[in-house]
Structures are given as structure tokens and as C-alpha cells.
Subunit: 411 residues, 2 copies
């Protein structure tokens, strides 16, 4: 079997049938039946190309290809899990691209590293929270035991779910470097016409968990002045967050704010809500801009609490400033793209990726391929065939250079 672009696209189309939705996307949330099917399909693919497959204690899937017996390992990967009603590309593209790139290097002369293709468990965080769970355990940011006891909304734990799909083990591996390729989930590549994005940094972000506490009351007979309406408090937080994004976005930088998840209690048509639990996040292109946006939002939180006569309790809060990827990795990838005749540009990632974790512990290279119209977390997500195969070609070339020791400055 020739591992050319056509072979990649055929594999990708076959994989996209697993957990396929009527709208042309996939639903393969972490450790569901569909995720389990996909993990087993992937295992079959790589085993047929001479990889060995292992699982670690939190279900990270390692496809191991030995090029230099006894040598250290470099890793390439992403995640096969998806949001509900997601696109086919997000994460899954990168894992399959990693496998094809590695397989193309089988038997490589002069290899100084072996290659592990990693399918990180639960990058999406829709079923089990938080997101980037598998790579967070791998990089020591989360404890495996706590992760395994985390439950989904039905009370099923990560441990039970992983055992249910048979993809948990006790494998452990040290890696010396990490490479990931992903669809951009934005439109900067498409807008600029570049074929490849070289990720130089993340955005800064501030994430809130709110519990808005009001008091149950009759939606008809309770006068407005007597109400403590948690739903109103939540609504004011959501619209305030958007106001902040608009206010702090200008020609020199961008703020985006979101609330995607919200639970109302008792959620009855005739009862003023007593409690709303919700998540809000603020992301910005620079540290000062993020700080200013957060400060403005804090003021709006107080105003929302006053207007709706509610308590707004704040739970776990996370803040991080824009973080840089390794500049030498960006340069290696730029040169590799150039050698293949692919146009590239330096970009930033707003979304989190497993590489966001990995870059904190080992030299890491993060690559993007274009997303049509930047549509993401949507069944209509699309990366064109030629962009997918160009990405696999580049990933192969980058991985070849890494395996040959050109990125081994850490030694």
C-alpha cells in the first residue's frame, strides 16, 4: 500500500463514517461507544502498518513505531474525540495525519528517535470536564486519580467509561519532543491565502464558573420589585460579556467572549429561576488587553447582581496570559514548508490544544491547515482535500527533521 495523499483521504473518509451525524458531521464524545469504535478502527489501521498500540492509565492511546531501537521517543498527535454534532476534522485530522506521517517514515535511515502517535483522551471536555484531560495528566497538570473519578452528567465516571470501551491500560512513555497538526478553526489562513499556519503563541484567557443565586417565585403573581431572578442575572452576564468583546476589539487587537453552557433550576415556565450555573470566558490577543477586558467585565458582574437582585458566586477561575510556542520549532516548520513549496504564515491559536499542554514540558511544534470560513465545532466544518494532504506532507517533513535530530537542542 502506497501511503500517498489519496490513501490518507480514503482513510479519513472511512473514519468519518464512525459516529457520523445526518448533518455531515460526527458525534464521538469522549469514551462513548462511537469514540470506542473509532479508537479500535484507528488501532486496526496503525497495526496494519507495523505500529504497536498501548493505553495509559487515563486512556491516552499510543501507536508506537520503532525506527531506532533503544533511542528516545518523539510524539505526534491530537485527539479523536469530538463535540456533540461536531465537524469531521477537528482533532481527528491530526491523529490520522500523524499516523500517516509516521508510517511514511518507517525504515528511515539515520533515525535518532522512535515515533509515538498519540490520540489524547478527551480533548473536547464536552462529556467530562475539563477539556484537554489526557494531555493534562500526561504533563502532570492533573492527577490521574482525580480524572478517573470525574463523572459525566449521568454519573458515569471516566474510569467506568474507559473500561466500558476497553481502552485503558498502564502504559507510560517519556517523550523528547511533540508535534501536532490541527485544522485552524479560524479564517486567518483562508483570508490570507496561506496553506500552512505556524503557531507562534496562544491567546490569553480568563475563564469563569458562575452560580447565579436568586429565589424561586411565581412568574405571574410575584411583582417585579419582589423578584430575585437568577435567569435575568445570567442573561445580563451573557450580554455584558458580549459588550466587553465589542468594546475591547479594535484594529490593534481582539477580545472574544463566550457563554456556551448554562443550567437553569427549576427551569419551569411558571417559576422564576432560583439558580443558574454557567461558564463564561474572555480571550484576548495581548496581556494588557485581557486585563482591561477582565476588569471591565468584573464591573458588569456587580451591575448584573444589583439589577437582578441576585448573588453571583464565583467558582473555579483560570487565567493565563498569551504563551509562546518554541521559536526554533516555528523556524524548523517554516523551513520544512518552504522546502515543499508550501506557503506559510505565523498565526496565534485562540483555541486550546493538547500542544498547549505539551509545549510546557517538551519542545513542541504546532501546525495549522486552513478551515473553510473558519467554521468549527459545527457539522459544516470543512478542510479541503488538497489542504489536508498538504498538511500530511508537511507533517511528514517536519517529523523527518525532528527524528533525524534537527530539533534535538534539548539534549
Amino acid at each position: 500500500m502506497t501511503l500517498d495523499g489519496q490513501a490518507f483521504l480514503e482513510h479519513f473518509r472511512s473514519m468519518s463514517e464512525i459516529g457520523a451525524t445526518a448533518g455531515g458531521g460526527v458525534d464521538r464524545q469522549a469514551a462513548t461507544v462511537a469514540d470506542g469504535q473509532n479508537r479500535h478502527w484507528f488501532r486496526g489501521v496503525v497495526e496494519s502498518h507495523g505500529f504497536e498500540v498501548r493505553y495509559d492509565e487515563v486512556g491516552n492511546q499510543f501507536a508506537l513505531l520503532e525506527l531506532a531501537p533503544g533511542a528516545p521517543w518523539v510524539a505526534v498527535g491530537s485527539h479523536l474525540d469530538s463535540q456533540p454534532t461536531a465537524g469531521r476534522f477537528d482533532g481527528a485530522y491530526g491523529v490520522l495525519a500523524g499516523a500517516h506521517a509516521a508510517a511514511r517514515l518507517a525504515g528511515l535511515e539515520g533515525a535518532k528517535y522512535n515515533i509515538a502517535v498519540i490520540n489524547w483522551f478527551n480533548e473536547e471536555g464536552s462529556r467530562f470536564k475539563p477539556s484537554m484531560m489526557g494531555s493534562s495528566v500526561f504533563t502532570g497538570k492533573l492527577a490521574a486519580e482525580a480524572v478517573l473519578e470525574t463523572t459525566d452528567p449521568d454519573g458515569v465516571s471516566v474510569r467506568e467509561a474507559l473500561e466500558g470501551i476497553g481502552t485503558i491500560g498502564d502504559f507510560a512513555l517519556e517523550v523528547a519532543a511533540y508535534v501536532e497538526i490541527h485544522v485552524e478553526q479560524g479564517r486567518s489562513l483562508e483570508d490570507s491565502g496561506a496553506q500552512i499556519g505556524l503557531v507562534e503563541s496562544t491567546w490569553g484567557a480568563h475563564k469563569y464558573e458562575f452560580t447565579v443565586k436568586g429565589e424561586q417565585a411565581h412568574t405571574g403573581s410575584t411583582m417585579i420589585a419582589d423578584r430575585r431572578d437568577a435567569m435575568l442575572g445570567a442573561a445580563l452576564l451573557i450580554s455584558s460579556a458580549r459588550d466587553v468583546a465589542d468594546r475591547f476589539t479594535d484594529e490593534s487587537g481582539t477580545v472574544v467572549t463566550s457563554c456556551g453552557e448554562l443550567y437553569v433550576y427549576p427551569n419551569s415556565p411558571v417559576v422564576v429561576a432560583s439558580e443558574v450555573r454557567m461558564l463564561v470566558d474572555i480571550r484576548a490577543t495581548g496581556a494588557e488587553r485581557l486585563e482591561a477586558a477582565v476588569a471591565a467585565f468584573e464591573e458588569r458582574i456587580r451591575e448584573a447582581a444589583d439589577r437582578a437582585r441576585v448573588e453571583i458566586e464565583r467558582g473555579a477561575e483560570h487565567s493565563w496570559t498569551a504563551q509562546e510556542y518554541d521559536g526554533r520549532g516555528v523556524e524548523l516548520a517554516r523551513a520544512a514548508a518552504e522546502s515543499l513549496g508550501l506557503s506559510s504564515r505565523v498565526v496565534r491559536t485562540v483555541a486550546g490544544h493538547d500542544s498547549t499542554n505539551m509545549k510546557d514540558v517538551v519542545p513542541t511544534i504546532m501546525l495549522f491547515v486552513p478551515s473553510v470560513e473558519g467554521i468549527s465545532h459545527n457539522e459544516r466544518e470543512l478542510t479541503r482535500d488538497e489542504d489536508m494532504t498538504a498538511g500530511v506532507d508537511l507533517l511528514t517533513e517536519v517529523l523527518r527533521r525532528v527524528v533525524r535530530g534537527e530539533y534535538a537542542y534539548a539534549e
Copy 2:
């Protein structure tokens, strides 16, 4: 057994143990196990006082007391079902008060009517929608077959649920008049110091069902200008509704607006919501005020759709102007209260009641007793013992007059 106020309070306390919540309220949603237990407890109570119990095709429970064999029937009642985490009084007070009032009239000389105490099925509408289901079927406003096929969020139908608790039958009854007593769920009686409310009319109301349609997108990487955020659209509708209430409330009248129920899809922390389903209602003290408030809100709906770049689809919409209760019933009840030395005042009801349905088909009298601080649909709902027993005394006197033919102008 003497059916005095003390006996009533003991029965009421006993009933309040069924479906009791830790917060001092009850959770007896329609046709749940707790509602079934309460219906059977109530059956036991009234059968021990000589009533016969029957169920109609949609689970309305009839406790029949014959005073004048062969004569027509008058009805008294309310509903035993509750909201989740509700107070103990709403509905349940009126049903038990009706049973005690009727039982006190057992053996009444000169009765021209028999008495049916009715526990209407699913007044609350929290589990099965719409609310006031049982009385809507009884008054011909809803078809029994459609109601029986209505399902709760778990897919259980009304028919299955009623059969599950064994409270469905084929009984049918015509009634000549209807009396209901209920806790006020507002504070006008408490504020004025009156012991009894004589309900002269409902408020006008306009109820909306909205489906806000946006598009799934990544909460981080999708730029604000590219978003079509259903959650933002919903939030703007909620805050706009409150603005309308504030704007149209003044010394001459009141508007209240609410959104108590909202469902988000896909409700993931990292996905811009593609769909929010929600209910909004606007209630006002007068027809012109309602019309002005609705017109102002319609403008805000368009603004919300523009700002969030969403489609706002409108489902079933219901509007009704303030409707009057029968003035002769108000006068009969006022005179009855006076004869007992109870202070009364004429009030309006913002909340819907089964009597709101019944008044459209038979002469109907609606009475209120005070609610402490007007707290309703809340475990902290409270009506004082002396107010409860005064209400039972008045209901007994009103029912005595009705049964003796003093309210029989319809003949």
C-alpha cells in the same frame, strides 16, 4: 370526628409530609409517585367522611358527596400537584379546604345541590405542558386524546403516568357552579391587612414560545463578527422583557414579564449555542397597557435578532385580555365573609387557576387567603394557620349558600 379548624390543620400537616422536601416544601409534580401517594391519601380521607371517589379520562379526581339525591352538582376544588421544590400550600390547600367545607355540610337541610370536590389533574404544567391541563379538558378547551399522548421530558405519556399511579377512569360529571379557594401568591392581602381576597378578574397576558436559531461555532477561535450566537439572542430577549416590565409599570398599573424556562443546544462550554428554546410571558393589569408592552417587546425581539445575528422563530402564542369573574359570585362571597366577621377586599389574579377555565363555562367564585410576603412557587411559601382556617370557614359558608340555591341564577 369534629371537622373544626384544628382537624383541618392536622390533615394539612399530614398531607404536607407526602413528597416533602428538605427545605420545608413539597415536590409532587403531576402523576409522579408522590402525586399518586397524595391522591390516594386524599381518597382515604374523604372516603372516611362518606364521599365516593371517581376519576375521569384525564385523571381529574372527583370526591362526591350526595346531599340531595338526583339533584344537580356544584363543584369545589383546586389541584394537589405541585412544582418541583414548591411550597406546601399552592393548590393543595384549596382541595383539602374544599373537602372539609363539603364534609361540614353533610346532612345539610334543604340542599338543592350535591357537592363534588375536584382535584384537577396537572394544574402546574411543570412536568406535562400546558398547565391547567385537567380543567382545560373538562371545559372543552383541550382534547382528552391529545392530552393523554402528551409526554414529559423522559418520553412518558400522561396516559402511562396516570395508569402508573392508578388514578384514571371514565367518570364524567356535569356541574352547575364552581367555587375555588387558593393562596394569593401575591402580597396585596398582606399589605392591606384583609383576611380574604374576592377575585374579580384575571390580568391580561401574552405568552411567547421562542426558538432562537444561531449556528454552532468554536467559543475561542470564531471571531465575534462571524458568530450567530443563540445564547446571546436568548439573553437579550430576557433582559429586554425585564426592561419592558420596568418601562410600563407606574402608579396606575403594572406589567410583569418572565422567562422561567430555557433549553440550550448543544450546551457545551466550548461551543457557541446553535439553538435556545424558551418561554417568555408578559402580564399586565389592563388591556391597553398589555398592548403597549407587547408592542414594545416586539421591537426588542427584532433588535435582539439583529444584535446576535440569529433567527428568532415564534411558536404557539397565546394572548388574553383581563377577564372578569362573575360579579354576583363576588357579591355572594363578600356577604358570606361579612356574616362571619372576616375582612375582605376585591383583588385580581395574575396567576392562572383552574377557576380561570371554569368561569368560562359555569358561574364561578374564586377566593384567596393571604400568602406571607407573597412568596410562591418556593419552599418558603407560607399561609398562617389562622388564615387557612378562616378560609375554610368562609368556603364552607359560601358553599352552604351555593348548595341552598342562592347562586342558582343560571337555572
